[in-house]
Amino acid sequence: MVPTSYFIILSAILFVLGAFAFFVKRDLITQFLCIEVMLSAANLAFIAFAKSASSLDGQIIVIFIITVAAAEAAVGLAIILLVYRQKKTIKSEDMNLMKG
């Protein structure tokens, strides 16, 4: 049987890679994809811990995370579409309306 720590290490690697890609990439859609990658890494950790604790609560939480990710994707993509209609670009460095 594969030890739980392997899954936790894989989850950490995926989360860090997602966060790294979030800061490296320059377009909004890919950054949004990176958020999904980080959510999935968290899902993997939840399920690995649920198995090691032999409890189902972790799997229930993963169902909730997937649901919230679906809602977040719908709203986020709508916002990206609005930004593209107004500015004709989705590069994140062009989003400087608030002089941030």
Binding site: I29, I63, T67
Partner: protein, 165 residues
């Protein structure tokens, strides 16, 4: 066997994310992330969570990523693949079809020679998950349904074109 599957899926997962970091094309990025989600579903299956694995494929790889691909097509910032690069896709489709037929034959072998009993009582089965979801986690479940309605109505109102346009 479990170790081999774990390392295979883990390497494909990390490779998909690294390929997404180096790729410039948003449509390719979305396809790499679909690969990542399918491999994660395999890992969930290794962790005795078959229902979550199916949910992962249906909702994430099937629903959310199709939404991403639709938006990428609507935005359309880059030109498509030039036709001369499409030659290798024929070989790739033959490979995928071969893998699929082998997999289906394996599944049929299990159907023709039933070796083990049905796994209805195993941990992580939809029965146990559903019972827990409607008893202990009833309030979060209902709140999530409200959240989904708010998100979908909000998304539709956000992207609706004004009448004056």
């Amino acid at each position: 066997m479990a170790h081999f599957l774990f390392f295979l899926l883990a390497i494909v997962c990390i490779g998909a994310v690294v390929a997404m970091i180096f790729s410039k094309n948003q449509a390719y990025n979305a396809l790499f992330i679909i690969l990542l989600f399918v491999c994660l579903a395999g890992l969930f299956g290794l962790l005795n969570a078959p229902f979550i694995a199916v949910i992962q494929i249906i909702v994430y790889a099937g629903g959310i990523m199709v939404l991403f691909l639709f938006v990428i097509m609507m935005i359309d910032l880059q030109e498509g693949i030039p036709p001369e690069r499409k030659r290798w896709t024929i070989g790739l489709s033959f490979l995928i079809a071969g893998v699929l037929i082998i997999e289906l034959l394996f599944a049929l072998k299990g159907f023709l020679f039933p070796a083990q009993a049905a796994t209805a009582g195993s941990p992580g089965s939809p029965t146990d998950l559903g019972r827990l979801l409607f008893t202990k986690y009833l309030y979060p479940f209902e709140i999530t349904s409200v959240l989904i309605i708010v998100a979908l109505v909000g998304a539709m109102i956000l992207v609706k074109k004004k009448d004056s346009d």
